[in-house]
């Protein structure tokens, strides 16, 4: 399609995001016997390209003899308009092929507000947006990623959904689709291939399930056929060492977010922060062996020419032996050109700052911490067990080591939150400014306030989200409180967007027509503040007789059927409910890596265990839990002698 695209690119903003050509990009050879995957991120190239999940699948699929994979991202509105005006479809970046040359359009869904973009891309691909309207000649529309733990709001538009880690399951899916392709995709065969896919553990085919309601209430989501599983379990890759991907991380030519080498050091997190969906659904902890991390960093830097590498995970300072790993990396790059190493998730204590100091030898401008809540009481509720003293020692260390600006992330609208908790944020920020004054003339502390959205498969999934008015009142309370506090700046997210994120996060299938209407009325790029349009959503809800308040602000009860109850992230529902009761009782729960098992289900259900390299908690302690962890029995498997899991569950 390049000749048709070429004249259009001269007319659009940032055309470099449509040309591909990245180092690491592939030009796969398509042929009828290969399953062609078009891997998609439903946002702009700048946001989507760095997505590691898509990059991993891109490599794994292209290594297979029976598959090819290319990439696509949401075209910005200017290009979309030109494409539609000329009747041109969504295209791949790698070889600039039309979407119709592919068998699967596979989305990574990391943010609920991108759902309307997904519909727009399916439509641009020349495929009916509703799965029920598709015919054998249309590609299969699939989705994976964190949002798919509740795919119900977009279930009408998806042919199949993948829960959990994608590394292994893409092979099984490819084989089923290859057989479909070989059979000639005859009339009626679409239903058959979807039925086959539903037999793969980790694959959810929404059309194979029936939703029953009683009045406003969801009563059940049940399979239509006896061979379709009643509950779909997520997939978990037992050992990251088996998947040293991406091997050839894409190096974009034009600017993107996170434009650096990224090496995933572990997956999963058992800190147990109750608001954090990622920490709950990616369990158990699986560390990559340090030797493999060192190799991936060294080879990655050499191949890409990047001068920055990020060691990624949900809490990198918790990696066993992080100090020696960081020391090794810093030392190994000493002779060559300067390389900076970053940890995207810094722990709130002096230990974390110590590592940051070791890493960031130059350009010490700003450092970010996430205490998440303003009082110890509130932090016990959310199980982010940072003592005030931990934060102060971290901030003091930061200023003492030359940082001038500190950024603090907080959530507002948390369960049981009172005005004292909100005002506590102001106190923390002012105290941090005071600490800074010992080291610098004008210390600055930026408070970033995000509205809390309860997510599926977290203990807070039963909590009624704060209203827009309530969030706005709390934001204003804090703004007024800090107005005269010199050095404290408060930034916040739009509570209106938070409300719609909440709607899509815990909604059910009845939201399908709402999302479709918002899209049909031009509501794309809703995750971009300048494009977000609350009125569109409110009107669409009203047009379909649905109540925002009921979906977003209502507390759920223990016996309520949740729209995602027929899916499983491995967590027992009674564990989550108990954790929710503990939250309300202000009881914290220590990290299970170094304490006895709570039986959350993530390990036992899949016959796997945490894989960590050390039986001792990381230097610096277990983040304020204040307990002696070294003497207790350790329910973990040491790296290097991980049990071979019973992966037979999948096949």
């Amino acid at each position: 399609m390049w000749p048709q695209l070429e004249p259009l690119l001269a007319k659009v903003a940032k055309p470099a995001r449509y040309i591909g050509l990245e180092d690491g990009a592939q030009r796969p050879h398509h042929s009828p016997e290969k399953v062609a995957w078009l891997l998609a991120y439903p946002d702009t190239y700048e946001i989507g390209l760095p997505n590691q999940g898509l990059q991993i699948l891109y490599e794994i699929l292209n290594e297979r003899p029976d598959a090819v994979a290319e990439r696509t991202y949401a075209p910005w509105v200017d290009l979309e308009e030109l494409l539609r005006a000329r009747g041109l479809p969504l295209f791949s970046l790698d070889t600039h092929r039309p979407a119709s040359d592919f068998d699967v359009l596979g989305f990574n869904l990391s943010a609920e507000l991108t759902y309307t973009n997904l519909l727009n891309m399916v439509d641009l691909a020349g495929v009916p947006v509703r799965a029920a309207d598709r015919r054998p000649e249309h590609l299969l529309v699939a989705a994976g990623g964190h949002c798919t733990y509740n795919p119900e709001p977009i279930a009408d538009f998806l042919d199949f959904v993948v829960l959990g880690d994608g590394e292994e399951i893409v092979a099984e899916i490819t084989e089923v689709i290859a057989a479909w392709k070989a059979s000639g995709r005859t009339e009626g065969s679409r239903e058959h291939v979807l039925r086959e896919l539903s037999h793969i553990s980790g694959v959810y085919v929404p059309s194979m399930y029936e939703c029953t309601y009683s009045g406003a209430d969801l009563v059940a989501v049940t399979p239509r056929y006896p061979d379709v599983p009643e509950r779909v379990e997520k997939r978990t890759v037992p050992d990251l060492a088996d998947f040293p991907y991406p091997k050839n991380q894409l190096v974009p030519i034009t600017e993107v977010v996170h434009d650096r080498l990224n090496v995933e050091v572990f997956r999963g997190c058992t800190r147990g922060c109750r608001f954090c969906q990622a920490g709950m659904i990616t369990r158990p902890v699986r560390e990559r062996p340090a030797e493999q991390v060192r190799t991936m960093v060294a080879e990655g830097l050499k191949r890409t020419g990047y001068d920055e590498v990020a060691l990624t995970s949900l809490s990198t300072a918790d990696y066993s032996g992080i100090e020696s790993l960081v020391g090794d990396i810093v030392q190994s790059t000493d002779d060559g050109p300067p390389v900076s190493v970053s940890l995207p998730s810094l722990r709130v204590d002096a230990f974390g700052v110590g590592i940051a100091t070791q890493l960031q030898r130059a350009r010490r401008t700003g450092l970010t911490f996430a205490p998440e809540a303003g009082t110890w009481r509130m932090r016990q509720v959310i199980n982010k067990l940072i003592r005030e003293q931990d934060l102060y020692s971290a901030v003091d260390a930061a200023y003492a080591n030359g940082w001038r600006r500190v950024k603090l992330y907080f959530l507002t609208g948390l369960p049981t939150e009172t005005d004292a908790d909100t005002l506590g944020i102001g106190d923390l920020a002012r105290n941090c400014v005071e600490l800074g004054k010992a080291h610098t003339k004008s210390p600055s502390v930026t408070v970033s306030l995000g509205g809390f959205v309860p997510k599926p498969f977290t203990p807070f999934q039963w909590f009624g989200q704060n209203t827009v008015e309530e969030l706005r009142r709390k934001i204003n309370l804090l703004r007024d409180d800090t107005r005269r506090s010199h050095g404290v700046n408060v930034k916040w997210h739009d509570p209106k967007a938070t409300q719609i994120e909440g709607l899509a996060s815990r909604g059910d299938r009845r939201l399908g027509p709402v999302i479709e209407e918002v899209w049909r009325r031009g509501g794309t790029f809703q995750e971009w503040s300048e494009k977000f349009d609350l009125a569109l959503w409110q009107e669409a809800m009203a047009n379909h007789g649905l109540d925002l308040d009921w979906y977003v602000h209502r507390h759920r009860t223990e016996d309520e059927v949740l729209p995602w109850d027929h899916l499983s992230a491995g967590l027992h529902k009674d564990f989550l409910w108990q954790d929710w009761r503990d939250a309300l009782a202000e009881v914290g729960l220590p990290d299970c890596r170094w304490t006895p098992c709570y039986d959350c289900g993530a390990c036992t259900g899949y016959s796997i265990e945490h894989i960590v390299a050390s039986a001792v908690p990381p230097a610096g302690g277990s983040q304020g839990t204040g307990q002696d962890l070294t003497s207790s029995p350790v329910p973990v498997t040491l790296l290097g002698r991980a049990p071979q899991p019973a992966t037979g569950a999948a096949r």
Partner: protein, 243 residues
């Protein structure tokens, strides 16, 4: 020691910006493990000096950058082998053609280049009609344009900056849109004339198709030459129209 690199920017990669390509160069130089000199200070940057910016979307047969190498390691670099070493480390469509040492006392590329030759496709124009329009432009004694600068409207004369202008013929068959092809030598000093400004000066204004810079010119001692000194390895013939 300073080296001057000449490269082409052709095909899909033309949709990248000057800054995008600058970053690609920094990564490529690191990957080639060249002994590039760095600035002093807390955040050292490689000493790389780029020539005139090329607008996003335009192709070029002659782009340049200067790179400072540290001594003595710089002197041992095999410059003749460098094009083959560097090209694979750059995006497809960026091809290094020649590398020569230059004297540090030489004026920077941005100062030294006084004009550029451009080949411009003009969609929807026949060569005959375009020739007549070109004659009108060349016959004009002045071509006033108004542009906004720091909020003020400034009037300016383009005509002195149009050094040469002619019609090469019809567009090649592979052109995305059919029309005629212009060749123009436009000044970069004292006032730079951009291809878009030239097209806008026509009456009625011309549409811009593909644009390719074919040469950059330095004027020294009354002679006009390209920024790589005459001793440089020979270059592929350039500027014979849009292939």
């Amino acid at each position: 020691m300073r080296i001057r690199i000449r490269y082409r920017k052709l095909g899909k990669v033309r949709f990248t910006s000057h800054r995008d390509i600058a970053r690609c160069w920094e990564r490529a130089l690191r990957r080639a493990e060249l002994p590039v000199a760095s600035t002093e200070g807390f955040s050292p940057r490689p000493k790389v000096h780029f020539g005139l910016a090329l607008s996003t979307g335009h192709e070029s047969l002659g782009e340049y950058l200067d790179v400072d190498l540290i001594e003595p390691a710089g002197s041992t670099v095999d410059l003749e082998a460098l094009p083959e070493r560097l090209s694979p480390l750059l995006p497809p469509g960026i091809d290094v053609e020649a590398v020569v040492p230059v004297d540090r006392s030489e004026a920077s590329l941005q100062e030294a280049v006084t004009s550029c030759t451009w080949v411009i496709e003009v969609p929807g124009q026949s060569p005959e009609a375009l020739t007549a329009a070109v004659d009108t432009i060349l016959a004009a004694t002045e071509l006033p344009v108004v542009r906004e600068r720091k909020g003020k409207k400034v009037s300016d004369d383009l005509r002195p900056g149009i050094l040469e202008l002619s019609v090469l013929g019809a567009t090649p068959p592979d052109a995305p849109e059919q029309g005629a092809v212009l060749e123009a030598r436009l000044a970069t000093q004292p006032r730079s004339v951009r291809p878009a400004e030239l097209l806008a000066a026509f009456d009625p204004p011309l549409e811009e198709g593909r644009v390719r810079r074919t040469h950059q010119w330095i004027t020294s001692d009354g002679a006009t030459r390209e920024p790589l000194s005459p001793g440089a390895p020979s270059l592929a013939p350039a500027g014979a129209g849009v292939p």
